[in-house]
Every structure is written in C-alpha cells, then in structure tokens.
Amino acid sequence: MKQVSGKVWRFGDHVDTDQIIPAERLVSENLERLNEFIFEKVRPGISSEISKGDIIVAGRNFGCGSSREHAPRSLMQAGISCVVAESFARIFFRNSINIGLLLVECKVDSKEGNMITVDHNSGKITDENDKKEYSFPQYPEFIVSLISKGGLMAKIKGELK
C-alpha cells in the first residue's frame, strides 16, 4: 500500500458514472483516451486542468449508476491518484479495486485546490493547507491482498499458472 500526495478536486454527493464519463463516449476507439471526456457535462474543461497525482474528494455514494469500468479507468488515465469519498457505490468500488485505482472511504472537509497526502500504511490523510488530519480504517485482508497482487487480473494470472 502506498502514499500519494496531490491537489484536491472537490465534488458533492451522488456523483454518478454518467457525470464521470457520459455514455456516448463509451466506444472502443476511445478506450485509450477516456481522460479527455471526464466530467465533460458537469465540469467542462477539468480534464486538461488535472495534474498527475491529483486527488478527488467527494461526498456520499461516489460512482453510483452504471457499471461502466470506463469511469475508474478514465480517472486513472487523467492522472487521478486516489478518490477520497464519504462512501462509494459498490460496482464503482469493485471496479476501482480490481483495476488498481486507490479509493479511501473517509469524510474529508478539504477545499478544492488544497494539497493533501493520503497514507495507506498509517491510514491517515493530511491536509497541508488546513493543517488537519483524518484517519480511515484499513480494508479487509482479502482486498488488501488483491491490491498488493496488482488487481484482479494479476491475481487470476497467478492462479492460472
């Protein structure tokens, strides 16, 4: 498990996968450039403003709606290192864990533009601007092991050998 630091992009409750990446972008020819379309209906232009390592901080039920794996993939392609939310929708959560996007379930007050550090080893989030610290619980052992193996496909590759 690792430590990441980045600038905060702030979102509210119930950010659905149609907001993250609209259905009309879900075609194979876009699979390597999904980042270009993230939040295009609700926060146009954000895709080009995100820097590698940036962190999304959101409220409840992040990633609700469709099962499209394009959603976590588009955020990873955009350079998002971690999503911190009060809670996640379950398919988005599974997709992210399985493909290697870090998620942290924690209520954080950080404002947009603040620099925060998420330390998975200690289970701490530090907001460098507000000088605030938050703690979050560790994932169950199975999920920690899945992440440390490099995600679901890496696990399966190991098992098929």
């Binding site: 259905a23 075609v27 039920n61 794996e69 199975f142 496909m153 098929l160």
Partner: protein, 419 residues
C-alpha cells in the same frame, strides 16, 4: 441456536461452499456471466491477455446498447463482440433481430432462475432477483475473470427486508413501489446491501412487476433485490428455463439490517423528478410539460407494459408537440405486440415504434434530448444528461403515467387524460 440466513447468505454459501454470513468476503462459482456491447470490449481484451480457454457455457453475450449500430465507432464495437463469440466458440450470442435488451433476454432465454448466482457487466443485472436469483452488476475486468475461472469474489451483503401486504390498486404497479422505496431510503439507502421481499403481499405482485422492482434495486445502491420463488415464478419460467434449479428461501431467524413495510393498496402512480431516482412523488396533478414520452428499457419494456400503455392510448392521439417512442425490450415482446394488435394501436395514435435496443434510455441513440427538453420515461435513471443534453430533463414513471402523459402533453395519471 445457529443464526439463520437470508436468501443472499444462503445462495452465496451454497455457491462458495462456505458457511457465509453478511460481511464476509467469499469466492463463489457463478452460473452465468453476461456482458453487453459497451462493457464487453474491455472484458474481451482483458480475457484475451490471459491466453486461456473460456468457461464458454457460462458466458452470455448480448449486444443491446448501441445496436443496431449507431455509427462507425459502435459498429466496430459490436463487431468485436461478434468476433469474440466466433473466436471462442461461444454459443450464447444474441444477434440483432434475435435478442434485445440484455436483461429481458436473460429472463426470456431461461438463464435466470431461482437460486442461481448470475453476474453481468451491466448495473441492472440485479433484475433476475425478480425470479429468485442472486444477480448483481460487476465490471468488465471482473467479467473477464469469470470468463477465465467461472468464479468471482463477493462481499456477502446485509439484507433489508421489505414486507409487503395488500395488492396494487388502479394503475399503481411495480415501478411505483420501487420509486416509493427509493424516495423513502434515498439513492444510497441500500448501499452494499440486498433487498429481500416477503410478506403476504408478495403473491399479489406479478413476476413482471417483481422484475421491475428488482431491476431498480441498484437505484437505491442495492447489490440485489430478491423475491422468493413461488407458484407465480415457477409458472413464469417453466417453458423457458435452462436446466434444473433449486429455489432458496430465507430462514425464519435470519438477521436483517432493516425492515421496511409497504401496503401495496396504498401506493399510487409515482414520478421521479430530475436528477435523481429518489425524487419520487405522486404523479397526479404534476402537470410538467413534456417534449418526449419513452416507453421501453430493461425496467418497463415488457409485454405487460405495452398492454397497459396501449389500453390508455387506444383511440386517442399523441399530443401535439410530443414524440412518443415505444421500444419493446426484446424481439419476443415485439412479436407479441404484433400478435395482440398493439402495434396498430400505437401507430394509429402517432407513436414511433422501434425495434429492441437500450437506445435513448442511456442517451445512446434513437431519441436523444436537446437542450431544455423534457421527457417522461419508463426507464430507470434521470441523472444529469442521461438521455442527451446536460440541459435536458428526465422524469421516471411507470407505463401508465408515460402513456397518459404522451396523450396529454404533460405529466399526469390516466384518470387526468381528457376524454
């Protein structure tokens, strides 16, 4: 005494060969895994990298989102699915003209059955809970994992028990029950949890209505929405179900995280206002002007929905300024509409009828909304920009409200349609 189990705990125990309770993470044998033309291509790429033989008898491939091919990009994508089926000799592939919307096909073709564990790379896979299966939506990479191993990890969910009494009255139905539940508990009210329906009212809910309710469990964040198998279930699937199945029932002393109670006779037609499915309120007296009415989708695109709508619109005309789109959920529903003379009723009323597709439900094609336009739809989501422009609006309702609104030009219940 040993703690009892919910239907979810039982199915996941049986399929994992463990003594599973809510909160545990288990790995279980899956009966079927389904992908569509949007989620399939990622799964195909991931699977092909594994360079292994697929569990081909478990795999179901159903193109429905952007078919018939909307444009060149979607044509290429649909072709990927066709070629994957051919490359790996997967028989359960449903070509355009032979299938329809994936969840309707999964039920019609007998993949869904009581006690089965079914996953699908589409969030509305929870639909088959309407006939007693534990079914849930997964991602594409997970689907690829099931293609390869036939197994997947699950967190055993806690269960919300929904006790039903009475029976539906007037035009209220399954859609109104689930919109009411979501309005009461919110779009994350059942996050990570399963619903289990019980009580004397269950026998008064038709199987198609159960499928509607289960279909939208995900709109409350639910992992599954399960009705116990009964005589209605057995009758509904007897001619089509593939192979044997074993119905699973909850123990009397099972533990539930929450209990909700609904008297079906008190429900009235509902409509969920933009932009969340939890914004449900009674449709009567709404009066919201609409540009489009949409009858279709995996939620309400069955023959029963078509009959209800046809009964309301028969002999009347779609209001000026309104497009009424009728989209049967499968080729079988389409055929049944022909047999029952429903096509004539809709065409004479001035409705546009298309073949089966997810189409405009997810803003794909065949009825996209422009800026400022409003639609009343028998679909399942009304998120920002769901059916088109970010400045458009979607109002969710059952088939009766959709048909009545198409005639009136504004959202209303059938009793409010002017004679």
């Amino acid at each position: 005494m040993k703690m009892g189990k919910t239907i979810s705990e039982k199915i996941l125990s049986i399929r994992s060969g463990t003594d599973a309770y809510a909160g545990q993470i288990i790995e279980a044998d899956v009966d079927y895994v389904m992908v569509n033309d949007v989620t399939g291509p990622i799964a195909f790429r991931e699977f092909n990298e594994l360079k292994t033989e697929p569990k081909r008898e478990k795999i179901v491939l159903i193109p429905d989102h952007y078919v018939p091919n909307k444009d060149i990009a979607s044509a290429e994508q649909a072709k990927e699915m066709r070629e994957f089926a051919k490359q790996h000799d997967i028989k359960n592939y449903y070509e355009v003209g032979k299938g329809g919307v994936c969840h309707q096909v999964m039920v019609e073709e007998g993949f869904a059955a009581p006690g089965r564990l079914i996953v699908g790379a589409d969030s509305h896979t929870c639909t088959y809970g309407g006939i007693g299966a534990f079914s849930t939506g997964i991602g594409s990479t997970e689907a690829a994992a099931v293609f390869a191993t036939g197994r997947l990890w699950f967190k055993v969910p806690e269960t919300i028990k929904v006790e039903l009494t009475g029976s539906f009255s007037g035009y209220a139905g399954g859609k109104d029950l689930i919109l009411k539940i979501i309005a009461d508990i919110g779009v994350d009210g059942a996050a990570y949890k399963a619903f289990e329906f019980s009580g004397p009212g269950v026998k008064n809910v038709s199987v198609p209505d159960r499928l509607v309710v289960a279909n939208m469990a995900i709109e409350a964040g639910g992992k599954a929405g399960i009705f116990p198998c009964d005589d209605l279930t057995v009758e509904y699937i007897k001619d089509t179900v593939i192979g044997d199945y074993t119905a699973v029932y909850a123990d009397e002393n099972a533990e539930y995280s929450q209990i909700l109670k609904y008297d079906l006779s008190e429900l009235e037609p509902m409509v969920a206002y933009p932009h969340l499915p939890e914004n449900g309120r009674p449709a009567k007296g709404s009066g919201v002007r609409i540009d489009q009415a949409y009858l279709g989708s995996c939620t309400n695109g069955r023959i029963e929905d078509m009959r209800i709508a046809a009964g309301i619109i028969k002999g009347k005309k779609v209001a000026d300024g309104v497009r009424f789109l009728v989209v049967p959920a499968s080729q079988k529903v389409y055929r049944q509409m022909l047999d029952e003379g429903l096509m004539h009723i809709f065409v004479d009323a001035g409705a546009f009828i298309s073949g089966p597709t997810c189409g405009a439900c997810l803003g794909g094609h065949m009825g996209i909304l422009a800026n400022g336009e409003r639609a009343v739809a028998s679909t399942n989501r009304n998120f920002i920009g769901r059916m088109g422009h970010k400045g458009s609006e979607v109002y969710l309702a059952g088939p009766a409200v959709v048909a009545a609104s198409a005639v009136s030009g504004y959202i209303c219940v059938p009793e409010e349609v002017r004679k």
